[in-house]
């Protein structure tokens, strides 16, 4: 292969990378971004799309170049060049991908640490799942504990979610928040399950909690509403709920 051919192939790979990566990074694959985590995860995804497009372009260009250039002429039953390998090339395609994936791993690690950094003023919410129902408890509500069937949270405040299940494994997911964690039925000792998830919603709106771990025949419809509201609205909602619930359920406290 001449230098000119090599140069052309490299150009083809770069052009193809651009053709794939540029439109793909313009699309919001993950949909609406409604938490601080969403921005970080989507950026990581876009970086991966660019790197992956490059790797995929190498494969496509080399494959189709070989098919086009080295296809045997009709009637030619000879053999190809008896090349058994090339040590330098083999070292290169071992070392370079290693560097790329290690970069990806470290970057992911950094993002993960940021996602899980805890703020001191977070709002604790206990989420309890059972076949096929979600319950949201606000233990630290100023007017006394509050229980709700919809998840109402203030915008731009970190939530400290505690997840438990009463029967089988469920999974808590709000796609717009990009946050997911299984709810595991734990034994008396808690089985050392990591059930604390921080998340900071940063966009007002109404979303859905989706159960993403198969939990039985009602799995597909095990949903709950999420309302992200301004802080004052949240405070007044909480106060109203507390008043209503303390009034009616004074004796049946769980």
């Amino acid at each position: 292969m001449t230098r000119a051919t090599l140069a052309r192939l490299v150009v083809a790979m770069l052009v193809l990378t651009a053709l794939i990566a540029v439109p793909m990074t313009q699309i919001h694959w993950d949909g609406t971004q409604a938490s601080t985590a969403a921005h970080k995860i989507d950026t990581l995804l876009n970086v991966m799309i660019v790197l992956s497009s490059f790797v995929f372009s190498i494969v496509l260009v080399m494959l189709f170049y070989s098919i086009w250039r080295y296809r045997a002429k009709p009637g030619d039953e000879g053999d190809g060049e008896p090349i058994h390998g090339n040590t330098k090339l083999e070292i290169a395609w071992t070392v370079i991908p290693t560097v790329i994936v290690l970069f990806g791993a470290i970057y992911s690690w950094v993002v993960l640490d940021k996602l899980e950094a805890k703020a001191p003023d977070s709002i604790p919410i206990d989420i309890v799942a059972q076949q096929y129902k979600w319950t949201f408890n606000y233990p630290d509500a100023p007017g006394g504990p509050v229980t709700s069937n919809e998840l109402v949270v203030p915008v731009d405040r970190q939530l400290d979610l505690h997840l438990t299940s009463l029967d089988v494994v469920h999974s808590f997911w709000v796609p717009e928040w990009r946050i997911k964690r299984d709810l595991v039925p734990a034994g008396p000792g808690g089985n050392d399950i990591d059930n604390e998830v921080p998340v900071t919603p940063d966009r007002l709106g109404t979303y859905q909690v989706v159960c993403t771990e198969l939990c039985g025949f009602g799995h597909a419809t095990m949903r709950a509403l999420v309302r992200v509201v301004p802080q004052q609205e949240f405070d007044s909602w909480l106060a109203k709920q507390a008043k209503a619930q303390q009034g009616t359920a004074g004796t049946s406290g769980t």
Partner: protein, 641 residues
């Protein structure tokens, strides 16, 4: 009648099935009577009388079939078989010989392949039913509970009784020929391994007749959903035992065969890569498969014996099921991929007419995958609530496993470079299609391996897309490549290339149309394993369903081609692809003990274009002089037709 029942064979096998079933049922009823309990018990997780009967029945089937006849005589100190009957179970002279206990690795290979394809078509029909349901939001065809059974049985059939065993089948046929061995190391064990496979599939399917329907906790069967599920779940637990035992026995057989039965001169650096691939796969199977067997036994015990492995309320640990399960089931994805890597190497080298680029690194990459694949299982559990520190090391090993996999992709591309490429074989089309789709599956795998991305897309259609890119675009494409490649060797006939090309293109279009959009709807918020979904995904799902029907229909072209060509195809010579490995040096199909003379291996397996290079020569050293170059002498006459 009595004579038929006394002779080993299918009639005696079904008789044994009945006896075993009745014995198991009777045993439980008798024990319950003695203990003063009601004779039968029908809690949904119980039915001990049916569970024991469903263990004893299949064992009775195997005994009736004759799997243990020789061993039992030997164990009892009775004369085994007289010399003239020593090989009475070996080889096939009519189609009936494929329906009995047969110790010939070539017969067993074909038994494996045909049985697996039967389950492939059943599993495929189930998938069609699922796509019909999913064509619109809401529930139209099946209710949500039945839908859970459909995807659970679809996955169980495809994984445990199609992809894993069909690779064992292809290797069963080809591998002893490739290393110059007359058969596998343990032919009777080999036959027993095969016959456990239809039993496993039958148990999975029998669960449809259980009260409460077929098992519906997914092929993953997470506790405690599985420990509390209706009776069908126990049939999954039992089916996995038979499929697993079959895998482990076959893997041991391959290991011993590869290590001890290589022809003279066949050192490890002269092994074809298919043999290397099966060596690696077998190393995974023997050590990992016992873990899923254990996990399913623990679930079964929790269900029937009221043990508390996974009952959190009684001190059990729910997450430990997932750890044990994935400690097998992640290596399992390589069990379902490495043999395919081997097939692709054979096909690409032959049709590119070039030596495999970087042969030794290719072999070492396989071993690298074996080692790494034991260290990545918890990447299935990033959102499970497991000990959080475990996520980062598991992420690093997961991403690193892309390196040996990448080496294989690049080496195949290197093999194509400066080749003399022939696209006339459907096998080669599937091999090239595999390179593209598997690269995409690998890329989405790397994304899933990154914890932050996984947190978002875990348990969504993105995962469904990924597994089908690697298992359909990966494994199944390699299976088709292998079947087309060795069809002439196995049947002695050529298949129709035109129909093959139709099959390839329809499959390729159907596969991309079905599984590519699943990435998008998954990222946008559609969870997996749901019968009903938000209306916003309706259009995409309709499109996916249409393409999936095309994909399903394409497989009928394949079926027609195989059946008709097997019966009426033009005769194939010993070596229609002009390949270099030893299986192509004997007639198609090969004679009963493969070789009249054991070949001697004198060089590497892919010496295309090297003047004068040979992989193997037939016969003793002296015969080398004065014999015509293609050493296929002495095989034509012995061909079993």
């Amino acid at each position: 009648m009595v004579a038929t029942i006394k002779k080993p064979g299918l009639p005696r096998a079904f008789f044994g099935l009945l006896i075993g079933f009745a014995f198991g049922y009777g045993l439980v009823v008798a024990l319950r009577a003695i203990s003063g309990l009601p004779l039968t018990q029908s809690e949904q997780t119980g039915y001990p009388q049916l569970i024991v009967a469903s263990i004893a029945g299949p064992l009775g089937f195997l005994v009736g079939l004759g799997c243990f006849d020789y061993w039992l005589r030997w164990a009892a100190g009775r004369p085994t078989y007289p010399a003239e009957l020593e090989h009475k179970d070996h080889g096939a002279t009519s189609w009936k010989d494929y329906f009995r206990f047969n110790t010939d690795h070539k017969v067993i290979g074909i038994q494996y392949i045909c049985t697996s394809f039967l389950f492939f078509f059943i599993g495929g029909a189930i998938a069609m039913l699922m796509r019909a349901e999913l064509a619109q939001p809401g529930t139209q065809i099946v209710d949500p509970g039945a839908f859970n059974s459909l995807f659970s049985t679809h996955a169980a059939l495809m994984i445990f009784v199609f992809v894993i065993p069909i690779f064992a089948g292809i290797a069963n046929y080809v591998l002893p020929l490739m290393i110059g061995a007359p058969d596998m190391a343990f032919p009777r064990l080999n036959a027993l391994s095969f016959w456990m496979l239809p039993l496993a599939g039958a148990l999975f399917l029998a669960s449809y007749f259980c009260p409460g329907g077929a098992f519906d906790a997914g092929w993953t069967g997470y506790a405690p959903l599985s420990t509390g599920a209706p009776l069908g779940q126990s049939f999954f637990n039992l089916g996995v035992q038979f499929a697993g035992a079959s895998s482990v026995a076959t893997a041991l057989n391959f290991l011993v065969t590869i290590i001890t039965m290589r022809a003279p001169g066949m050192n490890f650096w002269r092994l074809p890569l298919l043999v290397w691939a099966n060596l690696s796969t077998s190393l995974l199977v023997v050590a990992a498969t016992p873990f899923i067997a254990g996990a399913q036994f623990m679930v079964l015990f929790d269900r029937v014996l009221h043990t508390n492995f996974f009952q959190a309320i009684n001190g059990g640990d729910v997450l430990s099921y997932q750890h044990i399960f994935w400690f097998y089931s992640h290596p399992a994805v390589y069990i379902m991929m490495l043999p395919g890597f081997g097939i692709i190497s054979e096909v690409i080298s032959t049709h590119a007419r070039k030596p495999i680029f970087g042969y030794r690194l290719m072999a070492l990459a396989l071993l690298g995958i074996v080692v790494l694949s034991y260290t990545v299982w918890a990447h299935h559990m990033f959102v499970s609530g497991m000990f959080s520190w475990l996520r980062v090391p598991m992420m690093i090993t997961t991403l690193l496993i892309a390196v040996p996999t990448g080496i294989k992709i690049f080496s195949w591309l290197g093999t194509l470079f400066q080749a003399k490429l022939h696209l006339r074989s459907t096998a080669m089309l599937f091999a090239l299609g595999f390179i593209v789709t598997f690269t995409m599956g690998g890329i989405s795998g790397v994304m899933l391996g990154m914890v932050p991305i996984d947190i978002h897309v875990s348990d969504t259609y993105f995962v469904v897309a990924h597994i089908h890119f690697v298992l359909f675009g990966g494994s199944v494409f390699t299976i088709f490549a292998g079947i087309y490649h060795w069809f002439p060797k196995m049947t002695g006939r050529m298949y129709d290339e035109k129909l093959g090309r139709v099959h390839f293109w329809l499959t390729l279009i159907g596969m991309y149309g079905t599984f590519l959009p699943m990435h998008w709807i998954g990222m946008e918020g559609m969870p997996r394993r749901v019968a009903d979904y938000a209306a916003q995904f309706g259009d995409w799902n309709l499109l996916i369903s249409c393409f999936s029907f095309l994909l399903g229909a394409a497989q009928l072209v394949f079926l027609y081609n195989m059946v008709v060509s097997w019966r009426w195809g033009p005769k194939a010579g010993p070596n229609p692809w002009r390949a270099k490995t030893i299986e192509w040096m004997v007639s198609s199909p090969p004679p009963i003990f493969n070789f009249d003379e054991i070949p001697r291996v004198v060089g590497g397996p892919y010496e295309f274009g090297v003047p004068g290079a040979r992989h193997a020569i037939m016969g003793p050293a002296e015969a080398e002089v004065g014999r015509p170059a293609p050493a296929v002498a002495g095989t034509a006459g012995a061909a079993s037709t």
